[in-house]
């Protein structure tokens, strides 16, 4: 089981409390589609993804970004059993959606960058370390149903 210090738990609750899911989710997903364009293959039904502007204005991207980030809340509220929490989502991503698990890391990276742009210096190294630890546990949990 992953160990979380009191300070890490506080940091995570703090960061999560300041995040506007409806704003951050869409931004993170849009960045993935823009910065790593091959990921667009998973969103064939989303319509116009032909340019950065199109992606950022695309309502399906925005909606899906919110869905994904809302799902991150499950981890924030269940730090002591992230693996169990995401078992079904992991199976869904593997067996039904056929998502290459490398892509989870790409989304995690873009999410971290969006948070860095919003928080500025408040996203200091210690906060970054805790946040990246959370995301890597989430990525690991989402990958765990694959094998």
């Amino acid at each position: 089981m992953v160990e979380w210090s009191a300070s890490e738990r506080n940091t995570i609750a703090n960061v999560w409390g300041k995040i506007n899911v409806d704003e951050i989710g869409p931004q993170a997903l849009a960045r993935v589609l823009i910065v790593y364009p091959w990921t667009q293959r998973y969103f064939g039904t989303f319509g116009n993804l032909s340019s950065a502007a199109a992606i950022q204005g695309n309502p399906k991207v925005a909606k899906h970004g919110k869905t994904v980030l809302n799902a991150l809340e499950k981890a924030v509220k269940n730090l002591d059993d992230i693996k169990g929490t995401y078992f079904q989502l992991s199976q869904l991503h593997c067996e039904k959606l056929n998502v290459d698990p490398d892509n989870f890391r790409l989304l995690a990276d873009c999410l971290t960058i969006v948070i860095a742009t919003k928080f500025g210096p408040a996203f200091n190294p210690a906060v970054q370390a805790t946040w990246q630890k959370l995301l890597s546990v989430v990525v690991s949990a989402l990958t765990s149903g694959y094998f």
């Binding site: 931004q27 849009a30 960045r31 823009i34 910065v35 950065a52 992606i55 950022q56 990276d109 971290t112 960058i113 860095a116 742009t117 919003k118 928080f119 500025g120 210096p121 996203f123 190294p125 210690a126 970054q128 370390a129 990246q132």
Partner: protein
């Protein structure tokens, strides 16, 4: 040879011309050592790296952070031949310093987070894509002489 659009060239020149190397370099290296603690093995003679506060206050980390960031200048000034520009540095990192090339990506990620934190909303998805492309080319050039 890597192709750069006008936007990408302008973006890279803009970011680096406005960058405070004395702040960004130390921060990126400190974050790398804090967020990915195994990287401390490369800095055995740097003194106290015991915790985040020690790392952030460590003068050798700060000095080396500046050295590394100024090393990026060569790529900024020679975008059309980054591979040749870094041939010697690549040999140095592989044969003398024995740095695992995976670490280039870790430092690059931390640099991206610092730049994102500094630029805030002007680190748009398009700017992020250009910056990450530049960094990926640098990393590839630094890893070139390893095999």
């Amino acid at each position: 040879m890597v192709e750069w659009t006008e936007f990408e060239r302008a973006t890279i020149q803009d970011i680096f011309s406005k960058m405070n190397y004395d702040v960004v370099g130390p921060q990126a290296l400190a974050r790398c050592i804090i967020v990915y603690p195994w990287t401390q093995r490369y800095f055995g003679n740097f003194g106290n790296l015991y915790n985040a506060a020690a790392i952030m206050g460590n003068p050798m980390v700060a000095a080396h952070g500046k050295v590394v960031l100024h090393g990026l200048d060569r790529a900024v000034k020679n975008m059309d031949n980054i591979k040749a520009t870094y041939a010697e540095l690549s040999v140095l990192h592989s044969e003398k310093l024995h740095v695992d090339p995976d670490n280039f990506r870790l430092l690059a990620d931390c640099l991206t987070v610092v730049v994102a934190g500094q630029l805030g909303s002007s680190f748009t998805p398009e700017v992020q894509a250009a910056f990450q492309k530049f960094i990926a080319v640098v990393i590839s050039a630094l890893g070139r002489q390893y095999h």
